[in-house]
Symmetry: C5
Subunit: 363 residues, 5 copies
């Protein structure tokens, strides 16, 4: 009971947090996450085919020097709780306040919005943390002419591969425009989804083994927990399919036909992710069904044991009870072999019963 009160309180607290946003004017920048330490940093990767530069911005104003260059510049913003700095940065790039609001809204659903001068996408990074548990991080990407702005909460991310490819000139990334970087970031996020779905697949395998070989009461809870996990992964992952599709169908001048070819591949991956998740849901439902069937078969077995024992011994006990009565005049008691006859009778009943159950295939 006290537990429930605590839960209700936490519920109210939760509502309070999100109510910070509610009632405010649209376009008000309000951080919705739970990392309010105000940490904030911007790193810059500036590159062209021949050039590579990596810096940490000390003043947001320095962003302007990179903005005007023809080189592709990747601004990587860490920390979303510093609403003021993000507002300032957004103004330098003429970003619509509605977009800035979505950047810091960590509950924002994956989506893509096109504006005249830029394209805005927001997704969730999913990855496995140190304990091989699925972790979620909010992430927002803005594609401008020659610039890509990436906003994330913490320094841990899924983009190390992209940074390596830029730094070491792997693949074709150094020779392409900002829209290819934009694609590469989204592609890196989607790629990581496969790690997550394979982690789910592995958990399903482990649970399947458990269900078939040594199910106990905890098994059902594990299955249901996994089901919930799949549901929450699906929530973030399914809209990505539409997102990528809309970039492909977009006619925005910043997105080149060549990059769309690569996006088609990313679309394909997101469809595959989607199908996998559907499959996992069905597999988990199956698993639960197997578990329930097993439980019910066990119950059946327990009932059979009870029934066999009771059905055999209750009548025998009755017979013993009859000859344990103290009537003065019970002729059988006086017979020389009365006792042996009764014992024999009991044995016959016992054997008949056993045969009956055998024929019924109860054991």
């Amino acid at each position: 009971m006290t537990k429930k009160t605590i839960n209700l309180k936490s519920a109210i607290k939760k509502q309070f947090r999100s109510q910070r946003q509610i009632g405010k004017a649209p376009g008000t920048i309000t951080y919705m996450g739970n990392r309010e330490d105000g940490k904030y940093a911007v790193t810059v990767i500036d590159y062209s085919e021949d050039l590579f530069d990596f810096q940490t911005l000390t003043k947001v104003e320095d962003a302007l020097t990179f903005k005007e260059q023809v080189n592709v510049t990747w601004f990587n913003v860490y920390g979303l709780s510093n609403e003021k700095e993000i507002d300032k940065l957004g103004n330098y790039f003429n970003i619509n306040p509605l977009v800035l609001e979505d950047i810091v809204n960590t509950n924002q659903r994956p989506k893509i919005d096109e504006y005249d001068d830029y394209v805005f996408a927001t997704l969730k990074m999913l990855y496995l943390d140190k304990d091989y548990e699925i972790a979620t991080e909010h992430c927002a990407i803005i594609l401008c002419e020659n610039n890509v702005l990436l906003f994330q909460e913490i320094e841990l991310d899924v983009f190390e591969g992209v940074r390596d490819r830029i730094k070491n000139k792997y693949g074709r990334i150094r020779t392409r425009q900002s829209d290819y970087l934009f694609f590469a970031l989204i592609d890196a996020i989607i790629d990581q989804y496969f790690v997550v779905t394979e982690n789910i697949a592995a958990k399903i395998d482990a649970l399947e083994e458990e269900v078939y070989n040594h199910p106990d009461q905890a098994t059902a809870e594990k299955i249901q927990k996994l089901k919930k996990e799949v549901l929450s992964v699906r929530k973030w992952v399914v809209p990505v399919k539409d997102l990528v599709n809309r970039i492909i169908e977009s006619e925005h001048h910043l997105i080149t036909k060549e990059t769309k070819l690569f996006l088609r591949d990313a679309l394909d991956h997101s469809i595959q992710i989607h199908e996998n998740i559907q499959l996992y849901r069905e597999l988990i439902t199956n698993l639960m069904e197997v578990y329930m069937t097993n439980m019910s078969n066990k119950m059946n077995e327990v009932m059979k044991v009870l029934t066999i024992i009771a059905t055999i011994f209750i009548p025998l006990t009755f017979i013993a009870g009859v000859y344990g009565m103290n009537f003065r005049n019970m002729p059988e008691l006086e017979y020389r072999y009365g006792y042996h006859v009764v014992l024999g009778l009991m044995l016959v009943i016992f054997i008949l019963m056993v045969l009956y159950f055998k024929r019924k295939r109860w054991f």
Copy 2:
């Protein structure tokens, strides 16, 4: 039995109420709610970038003076049971009788209708009342040139934030036209849906804790009650997605391209609400499944206890019964250690049984 009769009567009464409408000509204004006290008031907020005026209308005729001005005017009508006054107001603004019928029909499904001179939208406000229970209020909004008419049943509403923003010149609302106010009102309603869905999420969390740790018979009823609540919220909330989408795709002259940008954001929120509600339904279904599994596991456990006790003691009791028989000639009874041998035999059977159940993992 008497209970059922009472219910049937209330059913008939209900039908009677809604039958007031049935059979009448379309466009007949008939109040369908249950607050028939006839309370009725109209407040007016009149504003432009430099001007702010708040009044309570005493005569409906005064509305005309505001109607003609270039300032944006927000007419807020409280109380829908006064059919005559609403009819009069509607005539001043040339509102189609079909619209007036929908305004006072508190069972009206959320929808949007475009007319030549105005756009009509009706939705439900959802909010948490003092006991943190979900409450519903009917609400209708008409967007005219320079005017917005808002109809609601009681003074409690979700628009305080909008009024503040107008009064205190927060955000951009004072610089925009009536269509931005129209959007701001719809946005305020949708924003409040998040409070409601988070309340549902909190209840699911609390119930989940209950199901896993101390389920009882009331738990199932709580889950089903919550499921019903989600169903009724969904009924009012799901059509809003289409509603907002139709405003965005509308080509009505009163809705500017700039406001559509904001509406895109509202659309996004309503999609998110929809997805949340779908998710909650699945979570609740899961919860019920967990509950059923727990119950069935408990039953299993009860059966096992019964079976273990019965299976061990019924055969032993039978043996005791045999040696309680009164046959004259029962040689074992005369043996010196007959009693001790039988006791030993019983102990052996007891131990064998226990080992059998151990091997079967019954405890």
Copy 3:
């Protein structure tokens, strides 16, 4: 066994009835209902803004005099089993035989068909009969220039409101053309659906109360009966949404733009009806689930009582059995306080058992 045979026979009889139609040429007029008394009557309401006339046609030829006039004329045909008369009437109005076939086919699915000179719609009237049970009546409407032909089986119908409005000049019906009458009839039918769905809602409420407070074996059957009722209502009601939508999107010259505005309202109602029915289905499924959970909880309770009693007394009875054995050498029997020690031992076992069950929260 005999029962099943009877059922099969009725099944064959049924097939026979519908086979009257099968194998015939398309466009053959074959009455499919079960009111074959041949009763047949035609009433005429003839009106314009200034004129109102009500007659009962004695000869079908008289229809022609009304047909040519500019006034709107509503021909109301009662009784569909008189195939010859309907054929004759159809010929006067140049109605396609396929349409006539559908008019008398009481199993016809709701649909709309446009022909060059007329529009044909068929729906089902649903209403509550005297015992508040849901009744269904077949109904067909033909919209011609200046004329509306309405075909129904019996005189009981849902159009009294429309007749009143024409007679008493309520609303705008007297000032409009035949397409408004056409709409008004469809609207009256749809309006009545609300009475039916509210009746279902009331039954759900009553059953809910029964399930929670005093469920018995009959409850499940009542729930399933209601579910079946909802399914059969849905069958007739769901196609109406498409039907109305197709009239709205039709470009038939007989349907004016003004009437389409009203049809939009009817569409809205039919969507709401559809949503309600979906909701009721889910509520009924919920109800069944609650019922099953209640039953299973009751079973649990029964099992617990059995287990507690058996688990406490079976071991005690065993002890009593041991000391009821007749061995000559049983030293405990000779002890002075042997009996009292054993009674005490039994009491201790009893208390331990009760404590065990308390800790298990079995009572």
Copy 4:
């Protein structure tokens, strides 16, 4: 075990049969049915408004004489296992080998294909055999200019009505072109589906009666068997809706606008069939649910009887056991009315128990 092996063998055999087709070039004519007796016959009905001729073709070459005439000619081919003759006939009419392949493929899904000179449709005839069981026959129809070719396996079919109408000049069939005959054949097939669905409906009624009044273990199997039957009917019947719709939307020169009017009617019927089948599936699911609930209620009742008896008599037997012990010093045994007091005590316990169960409403 042996059973399973047999099944597996039959499975392999089945695969063998269909593998006859697999690996061959597309357009290879391979009979897939199981009536390989090679029986083959072609009848010809040749008609115009004034002419009617019925023949049995002895040589396939004679078909050519009919082919060129302006009269409508209906070639009816019985027997599909004679691949050579069908190939020959197909060549006379310039039929694509792919079409000929589909004609003899009795597993072919219902579909329509348009070619330059002809339209090809394949469906399944469903009808009730002598034992009122649902039977399926493959059927293929080709519409050419002035000719219709109908292919079926056996002489039993659903087209007697069409033949009658041609022979006896019923309806309009003699005055129309080959496309009307094409429609009439499809219409006859669809009409027959109603007989089948009504047979299903009758079986549902009979099973419903059985479930409510005298369910036994066989009932569940009957329900499941019916469910399977509905699934297999659905498989053949559902694609027909699309098939008819595609003829209506087709712009093939052989299909006249007038015939499309009739096809609209057939479309309507196929939609109704589809809806009926959906409804039956839901009704059968309901039925199964009712059955399960009944079973579970019965189980409850059995458990109650057991619990009542055991709970009443186990404690009483314990008391009797106590006073059956043989301790030397048991003072109660010596009391004058000890026996009567104990009997009274037992009666009191008995009555208390009965009252307890009454209050619990267990009987």
Copy 5:
């Protein structure tokens, strides 16, 4: 417990394997299968109407000589783990790196991609291995002008029929262009799906027989295993429908109108496959339901046996217990026929009980 750890490890290992791909630049060729022996071979079938040539390529450079000819050339690449050779071959044909990546990605979802000079399709071959188990092989096909490149993992494949038809000039394949070969390969793959679905159908039949006649605990696991198998088949087979449809709707210059006619047939087959799989899923769900019902009926039967025995003998044993008490003053014990009267009483109770159960139809 140790088991679970092992599973988790294998899960991590699995992730490791697929992570080889993740983080790399798009277009990097990374083999994803599990046949890393590096085996690699290319065979060439070169044909025109009059010419047939079969070779095994020793150097990949030789491919160029075939490439330029007007004859249709079918390059068949066995072994996908040799990434270098595939890259080289790809370069000769100007294949996009993204395509090469998909060719060696054995987890790739079936899809079709059109490029300017070629069309790329990837599907899964499904066939039955020696133990009649369903096996899956990755397969990729590229259609170029005059050339078709086929990539597969092992030499076992489903294309023997196509090779035969080319070699022996069966059918029309030798007279057509490369797009017909492309179609023929896809058609051969789809044809083989029928073997797989019929294998599933046969397993369902066998399981059905088992469920109805001798279900045991293993049956449920077999059903669930089959269900999982169907799910995994569906995963690879369902996208093929869209794939074929997209080729048909494609306007790529390499795909001729004539071949599209044949593709329509393949589309038809893939739709039928899809429908079959849906049907199998429903049949398996039914099967599981029957199984559960059977189990629950068996449980019922067990409970009845227990209840009958216990209910009859517990009261009788109680009576025997009463007359086994050792009270000094128990007058009945002294009666001459006390014993016989009690025996008679027991018999009467026994008979009454049996009659009661008979009336309840418990046996």
